[in-house]
Amino acid sequence: MVESNESQAALRVMLIDDDPKRARWVQNSLREFGFDTCSIVAEPARMLKEISEHAPDVIIIDMESPGRDLLESLSVLAAHQPTPVVMFSEEEDPDYISRAVAAGVSTYLVGGIEPAKVRPIIEVALAQFRNFQGLRQALDDTRSELSARRTIDQAKLRVMQALNIDEQQAYEHMRKEAMNAGVRLATLARQIMETSTN
Protein backbone atom coordinates (compact mmCIF):
# COMPACT_ATOMS: atom_id res chain seq x y z
CA MET A 1 0.00 0.00 0.00
CA VAL A 2 2.77 2.40 0.90
CA GLU A 3 5.89 3.02 -1.09
CA SER A 4 8.56 4.65 0.92
CA ASN A 5 10.64 7.05 -1.11
CA GLU A 6 12.90 10.03 -0.56
CA SER A 7 10.23 12.73 -0.56
CA GLN A 8 7.98 10.88 1.89
CA ALA A 9 10.80 10.00 4.23
CA ALA A 10 11.74 13.65 4.40
CA LEU A 11 8.31 14.71 5.62
CA ARG A 12 8.23 15.98 9.19
CA VAL A 13 5.44 14.43 11.23
CA MET A 14 4.31 15.73 14.60
CA LEU A 15 2.11 13.63 16.84
CA ILE A 16 -0.06 15.26 19.50
CA ASP A 17 -1.43 12.69 21.90
CA ASP A 18 -1.64 12.61 25.69
CA ASP A 19 -1.76 8.80 25.71
CA PRO A 20 1.94 7.79 25.69
CA LYS A 21 1.17 4.14 24.89
CA ARG A 22 -0.83 4.97 21.81
CA ALA A 23 1.68 7.64 20.73
CA ARG A 24 4.49 5.05 20.82
CA TRP A 25 2.34 2.52 19.00
CA VAL A 26 1.49 4.98 16.22
CA GLN A 27 5.09 6.21 16.07
CA ASN A 28 6.42 2.66 15.68
CA SER A 29 3.96 1.87 12.92
CA LEU A 30 4.83 5.06 11.08
CA ARG A 31 8.50 4.15 11.32
CA GLU A 32 7.79 0.70 9.87
CA PHE A 33 6.39 2.47 6.83
CA GLY A 34 9.40 4.75 6.63
CA PHE A 35 8.04 7.89 8.28
CA ASP A 36 9.84 9.36 11.24
CA THR A 37 8.08 11.37 13.89
CA CYS A 38 9.89 14.62 14.63
CA SER A 39 8.06 15.27 17.88
CA ILE A 40 5.46 13.83 20.20
CA VAL A 41 3.54 16.38 22.24
CA ALA A 42 1.58 15.21 25.24
CA GLU A 43 0.45 18.57 26.62
CA PRO A 44 -1.40 21.11 24.49
CA ALA A 45 0.38 23.80 26.51
CA ARG A 46 3.65 22.82 24.76
CA MET A 47 2.10 22.63 21.33
CA LEU A 48 2.97 26.12 20.05
CA LYS A 49 6.58 25.90 21.17
CA GLU A 50 7.02 22.46 19.60
CA ILE A 51 5.47 23.56 16.31
CA SER A 52 7.80 26.53 15.98
CA GLU A 53 10.79 24.41 17.01
CA HIS A 54 10.17 21.42 14.75
CA ALA A 55 8.30 23.05 11.86
CA PRO A 56 6.31 19.92 11.01
CA ASP A 57 4.76 19.35 7.57
CA VAL A 58 1.93 17.34 8.99
CA ILE A 59 0.39 17.23 12.44
CA ILE A 60 -1.54 14.20 13.65
CA ILE A 61 -3.65 14.93 16.71
CA ASP A 62 -5.86 12.84 18.95
CA MET A 63 -9.40 14.14 18.46
CA GLU A 64 -9.95 14.18 22.19
CA SER A 65 -7.04 16.56 22.74
CA PRO A 66 -8.25 19.91 24.11
CA GLY A 67 -5.71 21.60 21.81
CA ARG A 68 -7.57 21.28 18.52
CA ASP A 69 -9.21 24.70 18.61
CA LEU A 70 -5.81 26.21 19.41
CA LEU A 71 -4.24 24.39 16.49
CA GLU A 72 -6.93 25.58 14.09
CA SER A 73 -6.69 29.14 15.35
CA LEU A 74 -3.12 29.37 14.10
CA SER A 75 -4.33 29.65 10.52
CA VAL A 76 -6.34 32.71 11.55
CA LEU A 77 -4.41 34.43 14.32
CA ALA A 78 -0.75 33.70 13.63
CA ALA A 79 0.10 35.77 10.61
CA HIS A 80 3.50 35.22 8.92
CA GLN A 81 3.86 31.72 10.32
CA PRO A 82 3.35 28.36 8.68
CA THR A 83 -0.21 27.54 9.60
CA PRO A 84 -1.84 24.18 10.06
CA VAL A 85 -4.91 23.61 7.95
CA VAL A 86 -7.29 20.78 8.68
CA MET A 87 -7.10 17.91 6.22
CA PHE A 88 -10.34 17.69 4.30
CA SER A 89 -10.33 16.10 0.90
CA GLU A 90 -13.92 15.84 -0.14
CA GLU A 91 -13.01 15.39 -3.79
CA GLU A 92 -10.64 12.44 -3.47
CA ASP A 93 -12.09 10.82 -0.39
CA PRO A 94 -15.63 11.81 0.60
CA ASP A 95 -15.53 9.44 3.56
CA TYR A 96 -12.33 10.86 5.01
CA ILE A 97 -14.04 12.83 7.79
CA SER A 98 -16.18 9.87 8.83
CA ARG A 99 -13.15 7.59 8.88
CA ALA A 100 -11.14 10.14 10.87
CA VAL A 101 -13.93 10.65 13.40
CA ALA A 102 -14.40 6.90 13.75
CA ALA A 103 -10.67 6.42 14.36
CA GLY A 104 -10.57 9.43 16.70
CA VAL A 105 -7.75 11.21 14.95
CA SER A 106 -7.43 14.41 13.00
CA THR A 107 -4.75 15.57 10.58
CA TYR A 108 -3.45 19.03 9.77
CA LEU A 109 -1.29 19.99 6.83
CA VAL A 110 1.20 22.77 7.41
CA GLY A 111 2.61 25.30 5.01
CA GLY A 112 0.55 24.39 1.98
CA ILE A 113 1.91 20.87 1.62
CA GLU A 114 -0.02 18.80 -0.93
CA PRO A 115 -2.57 16.38 0.56
CA ALA A 116 -1.48 13.63 -1.86
CA LYS A 117 2.03 13.68 -0.38
CA VAL A 118 0.89 12.99 3.16
CA ARG A 119 -1.83 10.53 2.17
CA PRO A 120 0.18 7.40 3.15
CA ILE A 121 1.03 8.89 6.55
CA ILE A 122 -2.61 9.67 7.18
CA GLU A 123 -3.65 6.16 6.17
CA VAL A 124 -1.16 4.64 8.63
CA ALA A 125 -2.26 6.99 11.42
CA LEU A 126 -5.96 6.30 10.80
CA ALA A 127 -5.39 2.57 10.78
CA GLN A 128 -3.25 2.60 13.90
CA PHE A 129 -5.59 4.81 15.94
CA ARG A 130 -8.42 2.50 14.93
CA ASN A 131 -6.45 -0.63 15.79
CA PHE A 132 -5.43 0.83 19.13
CA GLN A 133 -9.09 1.55 19.85
CA GLY A 134 -9.85 -2.06 18.92
CA LEU A 135 -7.13 -3.37 21.20
CA ARG A 136 -8.38 -1.29 24.08
CA GLN A 137 -11.96 -2.41 23.44
CA ALA A 138 -10.84 -6.04 23.39
CA LEU A 139 -9.02 -5.50 26.67
CA ASP A 140 -12.08 -3.87 28.22
CA ASP A 141 -14.26 -6.74 26.98
CA THR A 142 -11.91 -9.29 28.51
CA ARG A 143 -11.87 -7.37 31.77
CA SER A 144 -15.65 -7.15 32.00
CA GLU A 145 -15.95 -10.81 31.01
CA LEU A 146 -13.59 -11.78 33.83
CA SER A 147 -15.35 -9.64 36.39
CA ALA A 148 -18.75 -11.00 35.29
CA ARG A 149 -17.48 -14.53 35.78
CA ARG A 150 -16.19 -13.63 39.23
CA THR A 151 -19.55 -12.12 40.21
CA ILE A 152 -21.38 -15.22 39.01
CA ASP A 153 -19.12 -17.41 41.15
CA GLN A 154 -19.65 -15.22 44.19
CA ALA A 155 -23.43 -15.15 43.67
CA LYS A 156 -23.43 -18.93 43.26
CA LEU A 157 -21.73 -19.24 46.64
CA ARG A 158 -24.36 -16.96 48.21
CA VAL A 159 -27.20 -19.04 46.74
CA MET A 160 -25.56 -22.31 47.86
CA GLN A 161 -25.33 -21.00 51.42
CA ALA A 162 -28.79 -19.41 51.47
CA LEU A 163 -30.67 -22.39 50.06
CA ASN A 164 -28.31 -25.04 51.35
CA ILE A 165 -27.84 -26.64 47.91
CA ASP A 166 -24.82 -27.78 45.95
CA GLU A 167 -22.99 -25.83 43.25
CA GLN A 168 -24.71 -27.45 40.27
CA GLN A 169 -28.14 -26.85 41.81
CA ALA A 170 -27.27 -23.23 42.62
CA TYR A 171 -26.16 -22.67 39.04
CA GLU A 172 -29.38 -24.22 37.65
CA HIS A 173 -31.42 -22.12 40.08
CA MET A 174 -29.75 -18.91 38.92
CA ARG A 175 -30.04 -19.82 35.26
CA LYS A 176 -33.77 -20.37 35.62
CA GLU A 177 -34.24 -17.13 37.56
CA ALA A 178 -32.35 -15.21 34.91
CA MET A 179 -34.42 -16.77 32.14
CA ASN A 180 -37.68 -15.99 33.92
CA ALA A 181 -36.62 -12.40 34.51
CA GLY A 182 -35.31 -12.09 30.95
CA VAL A 183 -31.89 -10.87 32.08
CA ARG A 184 -28.36 -12.12 31.52
CA LEU A 185 -26.87 -14.43 34.10
CA ALA A 186 -24.21 -11.83 34.94
CA THR A 187 -26.91 -9.22 35.58
CA LEU A 188 -28.81 -11.54 37.88
CA ALA A 189 -25.58 -12.38 39.71
CA ARG A 190 -24.91 -8.68 40.27
CA GLN A 191 -28.45 -8.20 41.56
CA ILE A 192 -27.99 -11.11 43.98
CA MET A 193 -24.76 -9.62 45.27
CA GLU A 194 -26.29 -6.15 45.62
CA THR A 195 -29.43 -7.29 47.48
CA SER A 196 -27.66 -9.74 49.75
CA THR A 197 -25.05 -7.23 50.87
CA ASN A 198 -27.70 -4.66 51.85
Binding site: M63, D69, V76, V85, M87
Partner: protein, 372 residues
Protein backbone atom coordinates in the same frame (compact mmCIF):
# COMPACT_ATOMS: atom_id res chain seq x y z
CA UNK B 1 -44.43 22.05 31.77
CA UNK B 2 -46.50 20.47 29.03
CA UNK B 3 -49.73 18.84 30.11
CA UNK B 4 -50.60 15.18 29.54
CA UNK B 5 -52.48 15.68 26.30
CA UNK B 6 -49.35 17.13 24.70
CA UNK B 7 -48.33 13.98 22.84
CA UNK B 8 -51.59 13.82 20.97
CA UNK B 9 -51.67 17.54 20.18
CA UNK B 10 -48.03 17.51 19.13
CA UNK B 11 -48.50 14.52 16.86
CA UNK B 12 -51.43 16.25 15.18
CA UNK B 13 -49.28 19.30 14.49
CA UNK B 14 -45.92 17.70 13.71
CA UNK B 15 -45.35 14.56 11.65
CA UNK B 16 -43.35 11.77 13.29
CA UNK B 17 -39.61 12.27 13.70
CA UNK B 18 -37.53 10.60 10.96
CA UNK B 19 -35.15 9.55 13.69
CA UNK B 20 -36.02 8.91 17.31
CA UNK B 21 -32.61 8.42 18.91
CA UNK B 22 -30.43 11.53 18.58
CA UNK B 23 -26.88 12.21 19.71
CA UNK B 24 -26.41 15.83 20.65
CA UNK B 25 -23.08 17.47 21.50
CA UNK B 26 -22.27 20.24 23.97
CA UNK B 27 -19.23 21.71 25.67
CA UNK B 28 -18.51 21.97 29.40
CA UNK B 29 -19.97 25.46 29.77
CA UNK B 30 -22.63 27.11 31.91
CA UNK B 31 -24.65 28.07 28.84
CA UNK B 32 -24.99 24.40 27.90
CA UNK B 33 -27.92 24.71 30.34
CA UNK B 34 -30.74 24.36 27.76
CA UNK B 35 -29.45 20.89 26.72
CA UNK B 36 -28.95 19.65 30.26
CA UNK B 37 -32.28 21.03 31.49
CA UNK B 38 -34.18 19.57 28.52
CA UNK B 39 -32.64 16.20 29.31
CA UNK B 40 -33.17 16.22 33.08
CA UNK B 41 -36.68 17.69 33.04
CA UNK B 42 -37.84 15.32 30.32
CA UNK B 43 -38.46 17.91 27.60
CA UNK B 44 -36.84 15.72 24.97
CA UNK B 45 -39.06 12.81 26.02
CA UNK B 46 -42.11 15.04 25.81
CA UNK B 47 -41.48 15.75 22.14
CA UNK B 48 -40.97 12.07 21.42
CA UNK B 49 -37.18 12.09 21.18
CA UNK B 50 -34.62 9.91 22.88
CA UNK B 51 -31.61 12.20 23.18
CA UNK B 52 -28.16 11.18 24.28
CA UNK B 53 -26.03 14.16 25.30
CA UNK B 54 -22.34 13.96 24.46
CA UNK B 55 -19.83 16.24 26.12
CA UNK B 56 -17.23 17.26 23.56
CA UNK B 57 -13.77 18.69 24.17
CA UNK B 58 -13.50 21.19 21.30
CA UNK B 59 -15.57 23.12 18.78
CA UNK B 60 -13.47 21.45 16.09
CA UNK B 61 -14.76 18.07 17.28
CA UNK B 62 -18.33 19.30 17.24
CA UNK B 63 -17.90 20.47 13.64
CA UNK B 64 -16.25 17.23 12.48
CA UNK B 65 -18.84 15.05 14.20
CA UNK B 66 -21.75 17.05 12.72
CA UNK B 67 -20.19 16.73 9.27
CA UNK B 68 -19.48 13.00 9.63
CA UNK B 69 -22.89 12.30 11.15
CA UNK B 70 -21.43 11.07 14.47
CA UNK B 71 -23.55 13.81 16.06
CA UNK B 72 -27.05 14.77 14.92
CA UNK B 73 -27.01 18.26 16.40
CA UNK B 74 -24.88 20.33 18.76
CA UNK B 75 -24.31 23.47 20.75
CA UNK B 76 -22.29 25.96 18.71
CA UNK B 77 -20.73 29.37 19.03
CA UNK B 78 -22.98 31.79 17.16
CA UNK B 79 -20.45 32.73 14.41
CA UNK B 80 -19.59 29.10 13.63
CA UNK B 81 -22.40 27.96 11.30
CA UNK B 82 -21.55 30.79 8.88
CA UNK B 83 -17.77 30.44 9.30
CA UNK B 84 -17.82 26.67 8.76
CA UNK B 85 -20.11 27.15 5.75
CA UNK B 86 -17.43 29.56 4.46
CA UNK B 87 -14.67 27.08 5.30
CA UNK B 88 -12.60 29.68 7.13
CA UNK B 89 -10.46 27.20 9.07
CA UNK B 90 -10.07 24.58 6.37
CA UNK B 91 -13.04 22.29 6.59
CA UNK B 92 -15.92 23.66 4.57
CA UNK B 93 -19.40 22.28 5.21
CA UNK B 94 -22.85 23.86 5.16
CA UNK B 95 -24.02 24.22 8.77
CA UNK B 96 -27.19 26.01 9.77
CA UNK B 97 -29.08 27.09 12.85
CA UNK B 98 -32.80 27.48 13.38
CA UNK B 99 -32.57 28.34 17.08
CA UNK B 100 -30.47 30.70 19.20
CA UNK B 101 -30.01 29.23 22.68
CA UNK B 102 -28.62 32.23 24.54
CA UNK B 103 -27.39 35.81 24.41
CA UNK B 104 -24.44 37.27 26.34
CA UNK B 105 -22.80 35.08 29.00
CA UNK B 106 -19.21 36.31 28.52
CA UNK B 107 -16.80 38.55 30.38
CA UNK B 108 -13.28 39.90 30.16
CA UNK B 109 -10.93 38.95 32.98
CA UNK B 110 -7.53 40.54 33.62
CA UNK B 111 -4.70 38.99 35.61
CA UNK B 112 -4.23 40.33 39.16
CA UNK B 113 -0.93 41.92 38.13
CA UNK B 114 -2.31 43.83 35.18
CA UNK B 115 -5.37 44.77 37.20
CA UNK B 116 -3.18 46.17 40.00
CA UNK B 117 -1.18 48.23 37.50
CA UNK B 118 -4.35 49.53 35.87
CA UNK B 119 -5.91 50.40 39.24
CA UNK B 120 -2.82 52.31 40.23
CA UNK B 121 -3.04 54.37 37.05
CA UNK B 122 -6.69 55.10 37.90
CA UNK B 123 -5.82 56.01 41.50
CA UNK B 124 -3.17 58.42 40.29
CA UNK B 125 -5.99 60.19 38.51
CA UNK B 126 -4.57 59.78 35.03
CA UNK B 127 -7.81 58.29 33.75
CA UNK B 128 -11.18 57.06 34.89
CA UNK B 129 -11.84 53.69 33.30
CA UNK B 130 -10.04 50.34 33.35
CA UNK B 131 -9.91 50.41 29.57
CA UNK B 132 -8.17 53.80 29.45
CA UNK B 133 -5.77 52.66 32.15
CA UNK B 134 -5.05 49.51 30.20
CA UNK B 135 -4.32 51.61 27.14
CA UNK B 136 -1.80 53.71 29.09
CA UNK B 137 -0.30 50.61 30.70
CA UNK B 138 0.03 48.82 27.34
CA UNK B 139 1.98 51.81 26.01
CA UNK B 140 4.39 51.79 28.95
CA UNK B 141 4.98 48.08 28.75
CA UNK B 142 7.97 46.95 26.66
CA UNK B 143 6.19 43.96 25.17
CA UNK B 144 2.66 43.46 23.91
CA UNK B 145 -0.12 42.47 26.28
CA UNK B 146 -1.36 38.96 25.50
CA UNK B 147 -5.03 38.03 25.58
CA UNK B 148 -6.70 34.68 25.05
CA UNK B 149 -10.04 33.39 23.88
CA UNK B 150 -11.16 29.78 23.38
CA UNK B 151 -11.73 29.92 19.63
CA UNK B 152 -10.73 32.25 16.82
CA UNK B 153 -14.27 32.62 15.45
CA UNK B 154 -16.00 33.08 18.77
CA UNK B 155 -18.17 35.80 20.17
CA UNK B 156 -15.32 36.11 22.70
CA UNK B 157 -12.77 37.12 20.09
CA UNK B 158 -15.21 39.58 18.57
CA UNK B 159 -16.14 41.04 21.98
CA UNK B 160 -12.51 41.40 23.02
CA UNK B 161 -11.62 43.17 19.77
CA UNK B 162 -14.63 45.47 20.08
CA UNK B 163 -13.80 46.32 23.69
CA UNK B 164 -10.14 47.03 23.00
CA UNK B 165 -10.95 49.10 19.90
CA UNK B 166 -13.38 51.21 21.93
CA UNK B 167 -10.47 52.09 24.21
CA UNK B 168 -8.19 53.04 21.33
CA UNK B 169 -6.22 49.80 21.52
CA UNK B 170 -5.67 48.28 18.08
CA UNK B 171 -6.47 44.57 18.44
CA UNK B 172 -4.30 43.74 15.41
CA UNK B 173 -1.19 45.66 16.48
CA UNK B 174 -1.26 46.60 20.15
CA UNK B 175 -1.93 43.17 21.65
CA UNK B 176 -1.23 39.51 20.95
CA UNK B 177 -4.21 37.19 20.70
CA UNK B 178 -3.96 33.48 21.48
CA UNK B 179 -6.40 30.61 21.62
CA UNK B 180 -6.12 28.61 24.85
CA UNK B 181 -8.27 25.61 25.86
CA UNK B 182 -10.75 26.71 28.57
CA UNK B 183 -9.36 24.28 31.11
CA UNK B 184 -5.94 25.97 30.84
CA UNK B 185 -7.19 29.56 30.95
CA UNK B 186 -6.70 30.20 34.67
CA UNK B 187 -3.33 28.40 34.71
CA UNK B 188 -2.12 30.52 31.80
CA UNK B 189 -3.15 33.64 33.71
CA UNK B 190 -1.28 32.45 36.78
CA UNK B 191 1.91 31.58 34.93
CA UNK B 192 1.86 34.89 33.08
CA UNK B 193 1.49 33.33 29.62
CA UNK B 194 -1.50 35.62 29.17
CA UNK B 195 -2.52 38.94 30.74
CA UNK B 196 -6.24 38.51 30.31
CA UNK B 197 -8.98 36.59 28.56
CA UNK B 198 -12.48 36.86 27.19
CA UNK B 199 -14.43 33.67 27.77
CA UNK B 200 -17.80 32.29 28.70
CA UNK B 201 -18.76 30.95 32.09
CA UNK B 202 -17.75 29.38 34.40
CA UNK B 203 -14.21 30.41 33.45
CA UNK B 204 -14.46 34.03 34.60
CA UNK B 205 -15.96 33.02 37.94
CA UNK B 206 -13.29 30.36 38.41
CA UNK B 207 -10.56 32.90 37.60
CA UNK B 208 -11.93 35.31 40.17
CA UNK B 209 -12.50 32.66 42.84
CA UNK B 210 -8.97 31.36 42.47
CA UNK B 211 -7.72 34.89 43.13
CA UNK B 212 -5.89 34.94 39.80
CA UNK B 213 -8.23 37.16 37.82
CA UNK B 214 -10.43 40.22 38.03
CA UNK B 215 -13.51 40.66 35.83
CA UNK B 216 -13.36 44.09 34.22
CA UNK B 217 -16.00 44.04 31.48
CA UNK B 218 -19.15 42.14 30.58
CA UNK B 219 -20.23 40.84 27.21
CA UNK B 220 -23.72 42.22 27.83
CA UNK B 221 -22.29 45.76 27.92
CA UNK B 222 -19.84 45.45 25.04
CA UNK B 223 -22.34 44.03 22.57
CA UNK B 224 -25.87 44.13 23.97
CA UNK B 225 -28.08 41.50 22.38
CA UNK B 226 -25.19 39.52 20.89
CA UNK B 227 -26.22 35.96 20.06
CA UNK B 228 -23.98 33.54 21.96
CA UNK B 229 -24.78 29.83 21.54
CA UNK B 230 -26.96 28.32 18.83
CA UNK B 231 -28.26 24.89 17.93
CA UNK B 232 -26.20 23.78 14.94
CA UNK B 233 -26.96 21.00 12.45
CA UNK B 234 -25.51 20.19 9.06
CA UNK B 235 -27.67 21.34 6.16
CA UNK B 236 -27.94 17.79 4.85
CA UNK B 237 -29.01 16.47 8.27
CA UNK B 238 -31.74 19.10 8.37
CA UNK B 239 -32.92 18.10 4.90
CA UNK B 240 -33.14 14.46 5.89
CA UNK B 241 -34.65 15.02 9.35
CA UNK B 242 -36.87 18.12 9.25
CA UNK B 243 -39.34 16.78 11.81
CA UNK B 244 -36.73 15.47 14.25
CA UNK B 245 -35.06 18.88 13.97
CA UNK B 246 -38.35 20.66 14.67
CA UNK B 247 -39.04 18.47 17.71
CA UNK B 248 -35.52 19.09 18.99
CA UNK B 249 -35.95 22.85 18.66
CA UNK B 250 -39.31 22.63 20.46
CA UNK B 251 -37.75 20.83 23.42
CA UNK B 252 -34.80 23.23 23.62
CA UNK B 253 -36.97 26.32 23.28
CA UNK B 254 -39.07 25.01 26.18
CA UNK B 255 -35.88 24.53 28.19
CA UNK B 256 -34.80 28.11 27.40
CA UNK B 257 -38.18 29.36 28.52
CA UNK B 258 -37.88 27.41 31.78
CA UNK B 259 -34.39 28.80 32.38
CA UNK B 260 -35.59 32.39 32.02
CA UNK B 261 -37.67 32.06 35.21
CA UNK B 262 -35.43 33.16 38.08
CA UNK B 263 -37.23 30.75 40.43
CA UNK B 264 -35.56 27.94 38.51
CA UNK B 265 -32.00 29.26 38.67
CA UNK B 266 -30.87 27.32 41.74
CA UNK B 267 -32.27 24.09 40.30
CA UNK B 268 -30.59 24.76 36.94
CA UNK B 269 -27.24 25.26 38.68
CA UNK B 270 -27.72 22.08 40.67
CA UNK B 271 -28.50 20.02 37.55
CA UNK B 272 -25.58 21.50 35.60
CA UNK B 273 -23.16 20.76 38.44
CA UNK B 274 -23.92 17.01 38.37
CA UNK B 275 -21.00 14.72 37.68
CA UNK B 276 -22.53 13.51 34.41
CA UNK B 277 -22.67 17.11 33.09
CA UNK B 278 -20.28 19.90 34.12
CA UNK B 279 -19.01 18.03 37.21
CA UNK B 280 -18.08 21.08 39.26
CA UNK B 281 -19.25 22.87 42.41
CA UNK B 282 -22.56 24.76 42.18
CA UNK B 283 -20.64 27.81 43.45
CA UNK B 284 -18.82 28.02 40.13
CA UNK B 285 -22.12 28.17 38.26
CA UNK B 286 -24.50 30.22 40.40
CA UNK B 287 -22.84 33.67 40.22
CA UNK B 288 -23.30 34.06 36.47
CA UNK B 289 -26.72 32.38 36.38
CA UNK B 290 -28.09 34.72 39.07
CA UNK B 291 -26.26 37.67 37.50
CA UNK B 292 -24.29 38.30 40.68
CA UNK B 293 -20.86 37.94 39.22
CA UNK B 294 -18.00 38.63 41.58
CA UNK B 295 -16.49 41.89 40.36
CA UNK B 296 -14.09 43.29 42.92
CA UNK B 297 -13.53 46.85 41.90
CA UNK B 298 -14.66 46.34 38.31
CA UNK B 299 -16.60 48.92 36.39
CA UNK B 300 -19.88 47.34 37.43
CA UNK B 301 -20.80 46.59 41.00
CA UNK B 302 -24.55 46.13 40.77
CA UNK B 303 -26.03 42.80 39.82
CA UNK B 304 -26.36 41.97 36.13
CA UNK B 305 -29.68 40.24 35.49
CA UNK B 306 -28.96 39.95 31.78
CA UNK B 307 -25.56 38.27 32.19
CA UNK B 308 -26.99 35.14 30.55
CA UNK B 309 -30.19 35.48 28.58
CA UNK B 310 -31.94 32.28 27.49
CA UNK B 311 -35.38 33.49 26.43
CA UNK B 312 -37.54 36.54 25.73
CA UNK B 313 -37.60 39.50 23.32
CA UNK B 314 -37.37 37.11 20.41
CA UNK B 315 -33.72 36.41 21.25
CA UNK B 316 -34.07 32.78 20.20
CA UNK B 317 -34.72 33.79 16.61
CA UNK B 318 -31.60 33.58 14.39
CA UNK B 319 -31.02 37.17 13.36
CA UNK B 320 -29.86 37.98 9.84
CA UNK B 321 -28.42 41.39 10.73
CA UNK B 322 -26.47 40.07 13.73
CA UNK B 323 -25.14 37.22 11.59
CA UNK B 324 -23.99 39.65 8.91
CA UNK B 325 -22.24 41.70 11.63
CA UNK B 326 -20.52 38.59 12.98
CA UNK B 327 -19.35 37.48 9.53
CA UNK B 328 -17.98 40.97 8.84
CA UNK B 329 -16.17 41.02 12.19
CA UNK B 330 -14.68 37.59 11.43
CA UNK B 331 -13.56 38.83 8.00
CA UNK B 332 -11.80 41.72 9.72
CA UNK B 333 -10.07 39.18 11.95
CA UNK B 334 -9.05 37.13 8.91
CA UNK B 335 -7.63 40.29 7.42
CA UNK B 336 -9.48 39.81 4.16
CA UNK B 337 -12.79 41.32 3.25
CA UNK B 338 -15.59 39.00 2.21
CA UNK B 339 -17.66 40.19 -0.74
CA UNK B 340 -20.97 41.76 0.37
CA UNK B 341 -23.12 39.40 -1.66
CA UNK B 342 -21.12 36.47 -0.24
CA UNK B 343 -21.71 37.73 3.32
CA UNK B 344 -25.44 37.99 2.70
CA UNK B 345 -25.56 34.58 1.06
CA UNK B 346 -23.63 33.00 3.96
CA UNK B 347 -25.96 34.64 6.49
CA UNK B 348 -29.04 33.53 4.58
CA UNK B 349 -27.82 29.94 4.34
CA UNK B 350 -26.69 29.53 7.94
CA UNK B 351 -29.21 31.63 9.84
CA UNK B 352 -32.72 30.25 9.41
CA UNK B 353 -35.31 32.50 11.03
CA UNK B 354 -37.98 30.54 9.12
CA UNK B 355 -37.16 27.43 11.15
CA UNK B 356 -37.48 29.40 14.38
CA UNK B 357 -40.88 30.73 13.28
CA UNK B 358 -42.00 27.20 12.51
CA UNK B 359 -41.00 26.23 16.07
CA UNK B 360 -42.85 29.08 17.77
CA UNK B 361 -45.96 28.44 15.67
CA UNK B 362 -46.13 24.88 17.02
CA UNK B 363 -45.25 25.95 20.54
CA UNK B 364 -47.97 28.65 20.55
CA UNK B 365 -50.52 26.11 19.40
CA UNK B 366 -49.43 23.78 22.21
CA UNK B 367 -49.39 26.31 25.01
CA UNK B 368 -51.90 29.02 24.31
CA UNK B 369 -50.96 30.92 27.42
CA UNK B 370 -47.37 31.45 26.43
CA UNK B 371 -46.15 34.74 25.04
CA UNK B 372 -43.10 34.54 22.84
Amino acid sequence: MFDDSIDEKLNQLVPAAEKYHLEVGYLRLTDAAPFVVAQELGMFDQVGLNVELRQEISWANIRDKLVSGALDAAQMLAPLPAMITLGASGLRAPILTGLVLSNHGNAITLSQDVWQEASQIITQGECASVLEALHLYARQKPHLLTFATVHAFSSHTLLLRRWLSAGGIDPDRDIKLLVVPPSQMVDSLQTGVIDGYCVGEPWNTIGVKSGMGVVVALGSEIWPGAPEKVLGVSASWHQQHPQAHLRLRLALLRACQWLADSRHTAEAARILSLSCYLDMPVDNLLPSLTGELIMPGGDVDASVPDFHLFFGNNLNCPDFTATVQMIEACAELLGRPIDVSMVRSLAAQSCRADLYKQTTAVLSALQEDVTL
